[in-house]
Subunit: 200 residues, 2 copies
Amino acid sequence: MTRKKVNLEYITNESKRKATYKKRKSCLLKKANEISTLCGIQACAIVYSHDEPNPEVWPSHFEVQRVLHKFETLPKLEKDKKMLDQETFLKKRINKAREQLIKQRNENMKKKMDLLMFKCLSTGTIVDNNIDVNCFSWVIDETLKEVECKRTRDQSQGGIHVAENGSRTLSEEKELVDAMLKQDWLMDSVHSVGNEMLHF
Amino acid sequence: MTRKKVNLEYITNESKRKATYKKRKSCLLKKANEISTLCGIQACAIVYSHDEPNPEVWPSHFEVQRVLHKFETLPKLEKDKKMLDQETFLKKRINKAREQLIKQRNENMKKKMDLLMFKCLSTGTIVDNNIDVNCFSWVIDETLKEVECKRTRDQSQGGIHVAENGSRTLSEEKELVDAMLKQDWLMDSVHSVGNEMLHF
DNA sequence: TATCCTATATATAAGGA
DNA sequence: TTCCTTATATATAGGAT
């Protein structure tokens, strides 16, 4: 996921896949070690490689067995509850992503309107006919309020400043949406929620 | 490990520990998902939190059980072999670190000698009495060879160039060694190898 | 193949809101 | 508490060796 943003999908090139496997396995086990030490918890990981019948385990076979035993002896009811873990996990991710998207759309709309407003001010004409007039006038009102507010507070003339808020451009937003729709593991895993994604 | 380089040790502050746990667990499971998808392998992770009797699992309870079953039914002999996994893993890390250290010591020695040599050339006297004369003269010989070689190849005069090879300074090397000795999880886990570390 | 390098993408500790 | 933000530390893809 560097030098090039890699898609989350099976790597067909074998040597590339193996190289990725090695690096990532190493880091994964390191991370497992870190969370276990830092937070003082029990954890284990089991990772199978393609060409070996035996998995690589962390932190040790013995410890894995200990954790597994604990896991296996959970009451059945608890187990059923835990069956939903992945779905819950993914739902959370999706909801978060959706909220971020909405937030950014709003930011972009605001930015677009701001831009349009200043164009109008400088050219004296409406440049774009495809605008939501209500929204546009709302932005203008808000901007006027801000200006008035600032003027009152400062008791000074200061010009109109457009906040540099780091919001994304429209093309960046499009990329974000595309990227989200490509998240197969989100899509495939939670069908009920996945369908909603299409309405983004 | 950002804003401040965090030591790999139990976080005593409870709220901080919980926050770290949540973040890291999320990332760990994400990573598990990624390696599984990218490399098309089976993997699972089980993480216990302090305040919950049930662990968080990835990718699902069902899949975890499938992987576990595969794991549990390994022939006993194979299991014993796998008992050594963590030790093997750590040994590899230690060996790699040791090799890097040796390499850098050599580079530093060479650099030191280079520096000394040019000081001698410019001042006309030996500045440092605590040198390994054999090593020093070897470096001089090597340098002379390089110069001769270059001259022969280029048939041009070109001055003596010291390669900018990015090797570390002596104080940086010391920091590296200190950092290595602080790696508790390396030290504590492999006693037999750990003792050798002290002789670095 | 294995290792090293390095430009980017991610993860994440602190510090607010 | 949970969510954001931001400055840094890590992870890691693609190349070079």
